[in-house]
Amino acid sequence: MLAYTLKRTFVAFLILIVVSALTFSLSHLSTDPAMTIAGETASEADIEAIRKLYGYDRPVYEQYISWATRAMSGDFGESFHYRQRVSEMISGRIGTTMTLGLCAILFALAISIPLGTIAAIRPNSWIDRIALFIAVIGQALPTFWFALMMIIVFGVWWRWLPISGNTTWQHFVMPTIALGYYATPALMRLTRAGMIEVLASDYIRTAKAKGLRPMTVLFKHALRNAIIPVVSLAAVWFGFMLGGSIVIETIFNLKGIGWLSYDALLRADLPVVQAIVLIFASFYVVLTLFADLLNAYLDPRISVR
C-alpha cells in the first residue's frame, strides 16, 4: 500500500513538472513580461532595466527552474498587475472556488444517485425515461448559456436569487446548479447501470431469501456495492468542476481563483496564471489518487499492492 502511494506520488510530481513547464513556455511565448510590468508609458530603457532586474533575459529553462524551485516552497512570486504576492491572492480566493466546486458535486450526487437508483429499480418505466431524458438534455446544455438563462429567469424576471457576488448562501445557488448539472448525466448513468447489475446479482437474491426488508436490501446490500465506482467518478468530476469554475465565476462575479485566472489572462499577469494552472493540476492529481484509494477502501476485494 505504501509503495503504491509513493509510486503514484512520484508520477504525480512528474506530471506537475511537465504541466507547469508547458504552461511556462506557453506564457513566455505570448507576452513580454518586462513590458507588462513596466506599463504602457515606459521607455525602452526602463523595460530593459526591468528585464535585467527580474532576470527575463535569461534562457527560458533557467527561468523555469528558478520559478519551480521557489514554487515548491509556496512562493509564486508577485502579480504583475496587483503588486501583491500571488500566494496571498490565491489563498484569499481559493475558498470560494472550493465551496462552489464542493456544492456543485454534492448537488450532482444528490440528483444522480436517487434518480439513478429509482431508474434501476423500475427500468423502462416513466421515471426511467425521465431520468434518461434529463441525462441527454444535461449533456447537451452549454454551461454558460444555462447560467445566463437562469440569471434572466431567476434573477431578473422572478427576482428569487441574487445574480452577482458571493456574500450570502443564496449567491451560490445558481452557480452551484449551473456548474453541477453537467456532472449529473455521467453520474446518473453510472449509478443506474451499476444498480441494475448489482440488483441482478446472487447476493441480492440471498438477501431477499433471508427475508430482509426491501429497504435493507436496497441500501445496505445493493447501493453499497453499486456506489463504489460512482464515488470514484465523483472525485474526478470534482476536479473537472474546479477547472470549469472559470466561466461560472466570471458570469456570476464570484471572485474565486477561476475568475482570478481569467482576469490574470486578460492582463497578461503571468505569475498568477502559472500558479493557478499548477494548483488546478495538483488538485486533479490528488483527487485521482484519492479516488483510487477510496475505491480500494470501499471494496474489500481490492487490496492495493
Binding site: I15, W145, L148, M149, L242, Y262
Partner: protein, 313 residues
C-alpha cells in the same frame, strides 16, 4: 402392431420443432434489413439524425439561404428588434440586427457553419493524434505504453480551459488557432479507447484463429479488427465533436476564441451579454442553436452505438 410404425405415423413433436427451425433459418432477415429495423425502432437516433442533417443542410446551403451578408454592417439600422416585437422592426431583418447593424438571422445561419467546421476539424485532428497514440501504446506495450500513459495522464491533469485560453493568448485568436488548440487537447478519450481495443484485439481468439489459418497481419487488421474498432471510433468521434463545439463556444464567449466579425454562436452570446436584460432573445437564440446541435450529435452518437451493437462477432 410394431412400435416403429406407430412412432412414424404419429409425427412426433421433435420433428415438428425441427421443421420450424429450418423455416426460421430460411426466412431469417438479411443483416441490412435487421439494421434498418433497428434504426427505425430507435426514436432518439432518428430525431438526432434528422436534426443533424437539417443543421448540416443549413450550414452547407448558407450562402443560398441567408437574406443578407453576415458581415455587412448597416450602422443606420442597428439593434433592430425581431418580428415579434412591434416597436422598431424592419421587414428585411426578420430577427433584427446586432449592435453594428448586421442581420441577426444571417449570422445565426452562418454560425452553424463555424460550429460544424470547428467541431469536425478538431475532432479529426484529435482523432488522428489519439488513435496513433492509443494504437502505438496498445500494440507495443511495455515502455512505450508507459510513456503514452504518462502523456495521457499529463493531459488529463491540465486544466484544459485555462491552458487553451493561454494558448490562444500566445498564438493569437483566430479560427485556425482555435481548431488547432482544441485538436491538440481533445485526443485523450481516443487514445484511451484505441489503446484498450488494440490490446484486446492483439490477443483475441479470432485474430489467433485467423493467424492459424494463415492470414497475414495486415489482412487481420483490416478484416477482423477494423470493423470492431470502427463502431467505437464513431461514437467517440461524436462525443469529442460535441465537446469541441461546446468548448469553442465557451472560449469565444469569454473572448478567447473566434474573434469578431466571424459569426460564431459563442461570440454572439458574448455580444448579447450587454443587452441581455432588455433583449433576452439575443441570448436565447444562439444558445438554443448550440443546444440543438450538440443534442443532435449526442443522440446520433448514442443511437449509432445502439444500432451497431451486436453487429460484431
Amino acid at each position: 402392431m410394431s412400435q416403429t410404425s406407430e412412432t412414424v405415423s404419429s409425427v412426433p413433436l421433435g420433428q415438428q420443432l425441427g421443421a420450424n427451425q429450418i423455416l426460421d433459418e430460411v426466412f431469417e432477415p438479411s443483416p441490412f434489413s435487421k439494421i434498418r429495423k433497428r434504426i427505425f425502432k430507435n426514436h432518439s437516433f432518428l430525431i438526432g439524425t434528422i436534426i443533424l442533417l437539417s443543421i448540416l443542410g443549413v450550414a452547407v446551403f448558407a450562402p443560398v439561404l441567408v437574406p443578407h451578408d453576415p458581415y455587412d454592417q448597416e450602422l443606420s439600422s442597428r439593434l433592430m428588434n425581431p418580428f415579434w416585437h412591434d416597436k422598431k422592426h424592419a421587414v428585411e431583418h426578420v430577427l433584427g440586427t446586432d449592435k453594428v447593424g448586421r442581420d441577426y438571422l444571417s449570422r445565426l445561419i452562418y454560425g452553424a457553419q463555424v460550429s460544424l467546421l470547428i467541431g469536425f476539424s478538431s475532432m479529426l485532428i484529435s482523432g488522428i493524434i489519439g488513435t496513433v497514440m492509443g494504437v502505438t501504446a496498445g500494440y507495443f506495450g511495455g515502455r512505450v505504453d508507459m510513456v503514452v500513459n504518462f502523456i495521457i495522464n499529463t493531459r488529463l491533469a491540465m486544466p484544459v480551459f485555462l491552458v487553451a485560453m493561454a494558448a490562444v493568448v500566445a498564438f493569437g485568436a483566430s479560427l485556425t488557432v482555435v481548431i488547432l488548440v482544441l485538436g491538440l487537447f481533445l485526443w485523450d478519450r481516443f487514445a484511451v479507447v484505441m489503446r484498450s481495443i488494440t490490446m484486446q484485439a492483439r490477443d483475441l481468439d479470432y485474430v489467433n484463429a485467423a493467424r492459424a489459418i494463415g492470414c497475414s497481419t495486415p489482412h487481420i487488421i483490416v478484416r477482423e479488427i477494423f470493423p470492431n474498432v470502427l463502431s467505437s471510433l464513431t461514437v467517440i468521434a461524436t462525443v469529442e465533436m460535441a465537446n469541441a463545439i461546446l468548448l469553442e463556444a465557451a472560449l469565444s464567449f469569454l473572448g478567447f476564441g473566434v474573434q469578431a466579425p466571424t459569426p460564431s454562436w459563442g461570440l454572439m452570446l458574448n455580444e448579447a451579454r450587454e443587452y441581455m436584460f432588455f433583449s433576452p432573445w439575443l441570448l436565447a437564440l444562439p444558445g438554443a442553436c448550440l443546444f440543438m446541435l450538440v443534442l443532435a450529435i449526442n443522440l446520433f452518437g448514442d443511437g449509432l452505438r445502439d444500432v451497431t451493437m451486436g453487429q460484431e462477432r
